[in-house]
Amino acid sequence: MNIKSLYIIKRETGLCMYHKDFTDAIFDPDLISSFISAMTSFFDEANQSISSRARAFEGTDYKILVEFGEWTIGALSASMDDEILRDKLRRLIEIFEEQFNLLRWVDIDLAVYSRYEKHVIDELLLDQVKPDSVIRQKLNWDLYVKNPEVDSFLKLLPETISVREAAEFLEIPLEVAMNIVANAIWEKAVVLTNPVRPEDIYQTTSLERTEKVIDGVSPETTAALSELDGETPLAIAAEKVKTRDLRRFLDEIAMLAEKDAVERVSEAQATLVQHSSVLQEILSNCARLLGNKMTRNIFVESRNALMDTYTWLSFVDLEEDIDVVVRSSLSSAATKGKILPDILSDGLRALMQFITKRISILIGSEPTNTIISKVMHELKQVYPKISQNVQWNQLTM
């Protein structure tokens, strides 16, 4: 999720009330705000439809996402369009309209930039910073950084260090370190990279490849590209091609990602794959105790009970005996980021809760908890990080 710029535009006048460039400035803010305002008005007029609204503009390597508030338009330039970014943009618009409501009627100086900065950092930058993220200081950062906290933070650290190591070194809480790093990114003092982890899920972008050998990539990694189907974690893909050096494999994947030969799946897709794995394991273990037919009944009854709240659960089904299958409509929406990961994890967690409840009615809570413990233990062995994303305590009886 590479965010480039943010613009908050007054709808009536097309005036840019706030903008921030996270990378090098691409557009003149007044120019882009006038363009967006004009284009959205044009599409509204042309379609004569209240519900039809221009929502995105696309360039070669960027997209401008547009969301509408009551009296403002928010525009976010990013490398991809997904529901998470749109959700953040909508929240930012809401906060802006609430905080600077006076600007709807009059044009006065409300110190917008200084007062709104924290919300933008919290919404767009903070969740990019993970404990394992690596920060690399830019050249001559000390010449332009104004934030004293960031200044003292970076001065004490080596040029390249992970966030967790920085917090340990400076003996400050991890959350504080993450906050300071977010501010450092805001000040463009550091470059943040998230290392490739074994439990990450990637997919191959170049489906037709003429050369059998890729420069700088080992034969095992090249062979593993066919395993990167958007559903298989890297550790499993490496195991399938019998990779000897996992670290090198991950580094090569990072290199291929920079070349756009592979891409990390959206967070929604990763959530869907992870939770589906857990669901599959629970159902498989249940089937060993209760048989396939009763397990299938449990699944269907649990899913039907949740359909009113999570209509998309109808696209999660069982094939053959008890093989969990996600229909293409849902997996496509997850891949494209059209559905939020939180909604997916909520729905699948609720489904698993309903299933475990029904299992415990039939065989008692102790064997049910044994199943959950077994699944958790097995998942932790294979995907240590993924197992942290699942709320196991909510599944136990």
Partner: protein, 261 residues
């Protein structure tokens, strides 16, 4: 539990009334022949109705070879069919002079049914152990067979040493009793783990039915050498009914989860 049972199970419930009723009438009549006829008729009917309902409930749906749960219940249903055949044979031959050859033939039929039953049960137990971890996987079946055989080894040694012959079909009855004991041990293990769930009830019922069958087998060899004697038949009828009821309750588990809100 009665809510979960369907209308087609009504004959089964009727049998539950018929068995004690027939027995009481027979006993009250004071006439040995009438009592024998009533008990024989009730047992015959119970065995075949229970076998029929169990087979239609558990065998028709089929299921994959990996599904040990369904497999086990299918085998129990088939075992009930063999019991029904054995009862029929016992009633027919019971009117003739009691010959060991007939008792042996009945024993062979019973043994086939019970071996199917114990095979299904042990396979299920092995699979359940992969989830519930009550023993090392390679020890599950050997341990159960050892515990099941031990009680009979002592008796067998005594019989061999003293040279006393209890019945000529001992070679058939002993394996039957070992197999039934193995089933009982397995049911105890499964029943213990499922004791707080709905499926604990059918396991307990199945355990009771199996105990009655084991008592019948022991009495058949050591006390009453005629399979078709009224007291043995009555024991059998109650056992079949209870086991059949447990199979029906397992099937009704799906209805149970449907009622959860």
């Amino acid at each position: 539990m009665y809510r979960q049972m369907k209308k087609q199970h009504a004959p089964f419930l009727v049998l539950g009334i018929l068995i004690p009723l027939g027995s009481v009438i027979g006993i009250v009549s004071g006439n040995q022949d009438i009592m024998s006829m009533l008990v024989a008729g009730t047992t015959f009917l119970t065995a075949w109705v229970v076998a029929g309902i169990s087979l239609t409930s558990h065998l028709v749906d089929g299921g994959s070879a990996d599904d040990r749960f369904e497999s086990m219940h299918s085998r129990i249903a088939i075992a009930l069919l063999f019991f029904a055949i054995a009862e029929s044979a016992a009633i027919i031959t019971g009117s003739l002079y009691v010959l060991d050859a007939y008792q042996l033939a009945i024993g062979v039929v019973l043994l086939i049914g019970i071996l199917l039953w114990v095979e299904g049960t042990l396979h299920y137990l092995y699979t359940a152990n992969t989830v519930l971890y009550f023993s090392e996987k390679y020890l599950v079946i050997p341990l159960i067979l050892v515990f099941s055989t031990l009680p009979y080894l002592g008796g067998l040694v005594y019989i061999l040493l003293t040279g006393s012959i209890v019945c000529n079909y001992l070679l058939i009855v002993i394996p039957i009793e070992i197999a039934l004991t193995a089933i009982l041990v397995s049911q105890l293990i499964i029943g213990y783990h499922f004791r707080k769930g709905y499926l604990g009830i059918p396991v307990i019922l199945s355990f009771i039915g199996t105990v009655l069958l084991l008592v019948r087998m022991i009495a058949w060899c050591f006390v009453i050498p005629q399979f078709s004697s009224p007291i043995l038949q009555l024991t059998g009828a109650i056992a079949y009914w209870v086991i059949g009821l447990s199979l029906l309750l397992v099937k009704s588990g799906s209805e149970r989860i449907r009622t959860i809100t």
